[in-house]
Amino acid sequence: MKATFRTPKTYKGWIGLFAILTVVLLGSWPVIPLLNHEAILFGMPILMFWSVVLIFLTTGVLMALNKMGVNG
């Protein structure tokens, strides 16, 4: 028996994987230091504003993937 991993089978699947990894990176180490300032944006600390953006971005990406027929 081979030790193969299950990977996306279509280009849409790869797009889905890439989109999800991008969203996760936007909420973690590579990006958060760039936003770590005392600035206030739309009445909120920039990190709070970014958290709200991520909430809607995540839902938006998942909606787009549903629309594309990506099943994960």
């Binding site: 030790a3 709070m48 994960g72």
Partner: protein, 501 residues
């Protein structure tokens, strides 16, 4: 008399929850695991959205999160982000878990592990150890419920009585209606929490600034205490590494409660729709966090940070709003503890007692819902009343295990070559490392203990799996039907007899 209005509102919430939950199971045979355990797989996307959303919002959101904002500042936002990203996990895994459950009649995570790894012992072990974290969480939420009842009754309801009252209320509808009760009460609790959080948050902002914009609050924080607005926060304990690894370990920790909730959906599409929208529910956290920031100026030296929101409500709010906050916080605590009690009863019955005593499905079904009473009476209630100092360690140990089950899930959905030996030894090693780095040497280099555990767990999982015999082709076909041809293309077919470890 007016001082009792908040208490009456809080009690009214409990009465409504009982009424809704009790009625949810009407006309259903709750002696069947399919009904009591997973609501006959009947929950639509809106109930699923509120069920999972409200389940993720615990008493922590109404007490602990404002407390973190008050004591640390923006580090608390990692909670909003990890809750959001758990929507991705639910979106990806939820429909797959549902498919497996519908096809092979799995109800619990332990049942799926038993099937995938051909090892009832591994399924039972994972069920038992996972329950430690789940029950510790139920204890924390029950303590939160008792605290709210104590505050709202001006101390007339002591903590021990609050524990008994909140568990008694849950037991009435949980015994009667199972996951259907959790679904309908969580939908009610979820909507209540959303309204209360925003009403309370905006009211506090109006009182503090004269308007409804958060801007003046944070302008003042920036002028007087800017360290609250950036990482590592006011206490200096949330670096980028800890932020990132805390989010990642939470994202890959699939709780038994989530698994069972996904099973309750009426279609795989309902889970996917609910999971897609799930992150939007967590906007509920934002106003409560702002309340915590306002507390920095209102209560400069509060002894217990977690009480900042309740303190503000009891000191300044109109009685109606204070009562709603009490009800909302109680709803948050109950909506998180009841799935824990339900899932533990289900997994003890299906994954441990049924295989050990070789019970029929019928007998196991009848026993399952009765198990909530010993779980509540012998475990949750006494520990909630005693509040042992070691509870936090129990919780850390439990959480550590849940995260370390991730490679076993990788073997279920991504890697057919995974074996029970690989899953077991990886999990054991990861668990020990997580324990050491949680309790004795907390989070070395600012990296979460659970991630250190996975650093050890994953290589062992892969290496031991490659050194041991894979599961039978039949099981591989069950879990990876799309890969069978590719997997057995050249290599000779390998079969092994299921062996308990």
């Amino acid at each position: 008399m007016a001082q009792w209005i908040p208490f009456l509102i809080t009690v009214s919430y409990m009465v409504i929850a009982v009424w809704l939950g009790f009625g949810a199971g009407k006309g259903r045979d709750m002696n069947k695991v399919e009904e009591w355990g997973v609501a006959g797989r009947s929950l639509g996307p809106i109930v699923m959205y509120l069920l999972v959303g409200a389940g993720g919002i615990s008493a922590y959101t109404f007490m602990g999160a404002p407390g973190w904002a008050y004591s640390k500042g923006v580090p608390v936002l990692y909670v909003v982000i990890y809750l959001t990203f758990m929507g991705i996990t639910a979106w990806y895994l939820g429909p797959k878990v549902w498919d497996l459950g519908a096809k092979y009649n799995h109800v619990t995570q332990g049942a799926a592990i038993t099937h995938r790894y051909e090892s009832p012992a591994l399924g039972a072990l994972s069920s038992f150890v996972t329950s430690i974290g789940v029950l510790a969480y139920a204890v924390l939420q029950t303590t939160g419920s008792a605290y709210i009842l104590n505050v709202m009754s001006h101390g007339k309801i002591p903590v021990w009585l609050g524990v008994i009252l909140s568990l008694a209320v849950i037991s009435i509808y949980l015994f009667r209606s199972g996951l259907r009760a959790i679904g309908i009460t969580n939908a009610f609790q979820g909507a209540l929490m959303f309204v209360v959080s925003w009403a309370f948050g905006l009211w506090v902002v109006k009182q503090f600034t004269g308007g409804y914009s958060f801007g003046p609050v944070f302008e003042r924080v920036r002028e007087e205490a800017p360290q609250f607005l950036t990482l590592p926060g006011n206490l200096g304990d949330m670096g980028f590494a800890f932020w990132t690894t805390s989010i990642l370990i939470s994202m890959v920790s699939v709780w038994q409660t989530h698994w069972i909730q996904w099973m309750g959906a009426n279609t795989r599409k309902s889970i996917r729709t609910a999971a897609t929208m799930l992150p939007t529910y967590y906007i509920v956290c934002i106003p409560m966090l702002v309340v915590g920031f306002i507390g920095i100026f209102v209560y400069p030296s509060l002894a217990k940070a977690d009480t900042v929101a309740i303190q503000m409500a009891m000191d300044n709010m109109p009685v109606l709003l204070a009562g709603l906050l009490g009800a909302g916080t109680l709803a948050a605590a109950m909506s998180s503890s009841e799935p824990c009690i339900h899932s533990t009863a289900l997994s003890y019955s299906k994954d441990i007692l049924q295989p050990i005593f070789k019970l029929t499905d019928d007998k196991a079904g009848k026993m399952t819902r009765w198990l909530i009473f010993p779980i509540m009476g012998l475990i949750v209630a006494p520990i909630s009343i005693m509040q042992p100092a070691s509870l936090v360690y129990i919780l850390l140990i439990g959480y550590g295990f849940i995260g370390q089950a991730f490679p076993a899930l990788v073997g279920m959905f991504f890697w057919p070559r995974a074996t029970k030996q690989g899953a077991f030894w990886g999990l054991a090693a990861g668990f020990v490392v997580t324990l050491i780095f949680s309790v004795w040497f907390p989070h070395p280099l600012g990296i979460h203990a659970g991630i250190w555990g996975l650093f050890v767990n994953l290589p062992i999982f892969f290496i031991v799996s490659l050194m041991t015999e894979p599961v039978s082709k039949k099981t591989v076909e069950d879990f990876f039907p799309d890969m069978v041809d590719e997997l057995y293309e050249e290599a000779p077919e390998t079969t092994t007899k299921p062996v308990s470890i």
